[in-house]
């Protein structure tokens, strides 16, 4: 059985957010919820200031606090290491969201894709309503609805349950890469089986010095970061007093 992991090469990542847009499309993610997200950091103070960009997603931790804490086992581990959520079992206690050290679990506070369900036209007699637009393209709640998501999870998760990244388990089970990996224009995301020493992820983890988010917590995240993007140069100097 493979153990899936992802490497994010921060030197290749240009911060274009294509991963986040691809994720929303692939998983029918509603407004206000981010399966794929980013942390932006600034270092220094003006005028000596830099901007850093770090993509984030569910870390599919080996020792996942969300799985341990879920009272109904709605949050569970698959054999391939993916941390999966079953909305049918979810009671909406939000403990996983409270417990996640990485801030990557979100709660459906409201009816998902509410805007698209609106049947009132923007301009009466001139434009169609969002609901009509959805109907016109035979969408389901949203015009860009992806029915493939339904293979392992409700296509759109209902109000009152949490949701998060699944490493696109509906794609990986068919031998496809997660859609954020597929969509990355600079190949900054590398996905594969960490148990296989010949996989790309294993090779890269051996080649660079990877780090993971909040490693000290012992959660064993399976999203690794390598390298860093910094084209700045400076004259060799020993400083001075």
């Amino acid at each position: 059985m493979p153990r899936y992991a992802m490497i994010i090469d921060l030197q290749r990542c240009v911060g274009c957010s294509a991963c986040s847009i691809a994720c929303r499309n692939e998983n029918n993610v509603t407004d206000g919820i981010y399966w794929s997200n980013k942390i932006t950091q600034t270092s220094g103070t003006f005028p000596n200031v830099r901007y850093h960009y770090m993509p984030t997603l569910c870390n599919h931790c080996q020792n996942a606090p969300c799985v341990r804490g879920c009272p109904t086992q709605a949050m569970h581990k698959l054999d391939n290491g993916i941390t999966m959520h079953d909305p049918k079992k979810c009671i909406g206690c939000k403990y996983c969201e409270f417990n996640c050290p990485y801030g990557v679990i979100y709660f459906n506070w409201d009816t998902p894709h509410k805007t698209w369900r609106n049947s009132r036209p923007l301009i009466k007699g001139a434009t169609s309503s969002p609901a009509e637009e959805v109907k016109k393209v035979r969408g389901k709640a949203i015009p860009y609805y992806n029915p493939e998501r339904e293979a392992t999870l409700p296509g759109i998760r209902p109000r009152g349950v949490v949701e998060k990244c699944t490493f696109c388990d509906h794609r990986t089970r068919k031998g496809n890469l997660p859609y954020c990996v597929e969509a990355c224009p600079s190949d900054a995301r590398i996905f594969g089986d960490i148990n296989d020493p010949n996989s790309e992820v294993s090779k890269l983890l051996g080649k660079f010095r990877p780090f993971r988010l909040r490693e000290q917590l012992g959660t064993e995240p399976h999203v690794f970061y390598i390298r860093d993007f910094n084209p700045a140069n400076y004259q060799p100097s020993k400083g001075g007093i």
Partner: protein, 382 residues
């Protein structure tokens, strides 16, 4: 107007008031079930809010009352027999109020039942649901046995022992919900469990004291010498409980304000929910220190008015302390959520959250009232 007529009128008005509160609360519950938690002033940073704080407060208070009831029922201190039945009933009614609050926090009553039947033994939330359900069941059975005059049969004793054990473990589990949260260092560790147990006992004894004094005042009944003695002893226990929680709270505040661990620095920047004077939160000053001072002054300690005031302040203080703990640990967005929210978030309950609070308290008070009326709560074994 005769005294009986006047008291009947007041009783009817009280029931009417509770009825109105319950109807308003039911309307709020219906809105919540149909429209979801968008009605709460919560978001993906402030995840748990007033309904959960109220649940924690009421559930812990119920545990405190059960622990108190165990003095006569488990440890067989006979002189407290006269208050045992009332304590068990108050524990049941208070826990019912708590269940109303958590039911609406979850947004679906069936979710509470599902939680019970789909165990995850590593989850403190599952254990809380399980233990409190068992506790409620055993308390109801114990009350029934007491009501039919069976106080000390083998079965009745087993029920008392189970509910006592549940009342000890459940607060530890509530603390563990926070104490096992690696992501929030300010909560992490066994301290939260011990703190919850202490707060449970404190709010339990405060409620018992307040209720007894209020009951005597409202009914105007003569209080027997035996009951006065019990009230004096409960006041002493209340003072000890206050002292213990004060020591623990000062220790907690000292660590929080002295440490340089980044996550604890939250406390330096976080705008306390109820305000603060230097490092001392308002609810600690008025909900712990002031009642302790009141109970430390000999002339006030024997005054029923001062006792009632101290108990009421403690109840409000412990509820506020639960809210403060709950909010302080959630005030800062975790990970990428900082992208969409400010560095620190503040919270004020929406009208719907207040109505959940109202419904929970109204259900609890209605049960108290009906129990007092029909269930002969002062009964004791011959």
């Amino acid at each position: 107007m005769s005294q009986t007529k006047k008291s009947k009128g007041l009783y009817g008005m009280w029931l009417g008031l509770l009825g109105v509160a319950i109807i308003i609360g039911m309307v709020a519950a219906f809105r919540l079930f149909t429209e979801g938690h968008g009605l709460f002033n919560t978001n993906d940073v402030i995840i748990w809010s007033l309904p959960l704080g109220v649940y924690i407060f009421l559930a812990l208070t119920s545990s405190g009352l059960t622990i108190l009831a165990s003095i006569p029922l488990v440890f067989e201190v006979k002189k407290y027999d006269t208050v045992a039945k009332r304590l068990v009933f108050l524990a049941i009614a208070t826990l019912m109020g708590g269940f109303v609050s958590i039911g609406l926090e979850l947004g679906n009553v069936f979710h509470m039942i599902y939680n019970f039947i789909s165990p995850n033994f590593s989850s403190p939330i599952w254990w809380i649901g399980f233990i409190y359900s068992i506790e409620l069941l055993t308390l109801v059975l114990k009350f029934w046995r007491m009501h039919v005059g069976d106080w000390h049969s083998r079965f009745s004793k087993v029920l008392g022992n189970i509910s006592f054990f549940g009342a000890l473990v459940a607060p530890l589990m509530i603390g563990a919900v926070f104490g096992l949260t690696e992501s929030r260092v300010t909560y992490f560790g066994p301290v939260m469990s011990i703190y919850c147990l202490l707060l449970a006992f404190l709010s339990g004894i405060a409620l018992s004291l307040f209720y007894d004094l209020m009951y005597a005042r409202v009914t105007g009944k003569d209080v027997s010498e035996k009951k006065v003695e019990i009230c004096n002893e409960f006041t002493r226990i209340f003072s000890y409980a206050l002292g213990t929680v004060i020591v623990f709270t000062i220790l907690k505040i000292t660590i929080e304000s002295a440490t340089f661990v980044p996550e604890f620095l939250n406390y330096h920047k976080f705008k306390h929910a109820f305000g603060a004077w230097r490092i001392f939160h308002t609810e600690v000053i008025f909900g712990l220190f002031l009642p302790f001072v009141l109970m430390a002054i000999p002339s006030l300690r024997v005054s029923n008015t001062a006792r009632m005031m101290a108990a009421a302040l403690t109840l409000l203080g412990t509820l506020a302390m639960h809210m403060e703990i709950l909010l302080a640990g959630q005030s800062r967005p975790v990970g990428p959520k900082a992208e969409h929210y400010p560095e620190f978030l503040s919270y004020f309950p929406s009208i719907w959250e207040w109505l959940v609070f109202l419904l929970a308290v109204a259900v609890m008070l209605l049960l108290y009232t009906l129990g007092e009326r029909y269930l002969n709560l002062e009964e004791a074994p011959a």
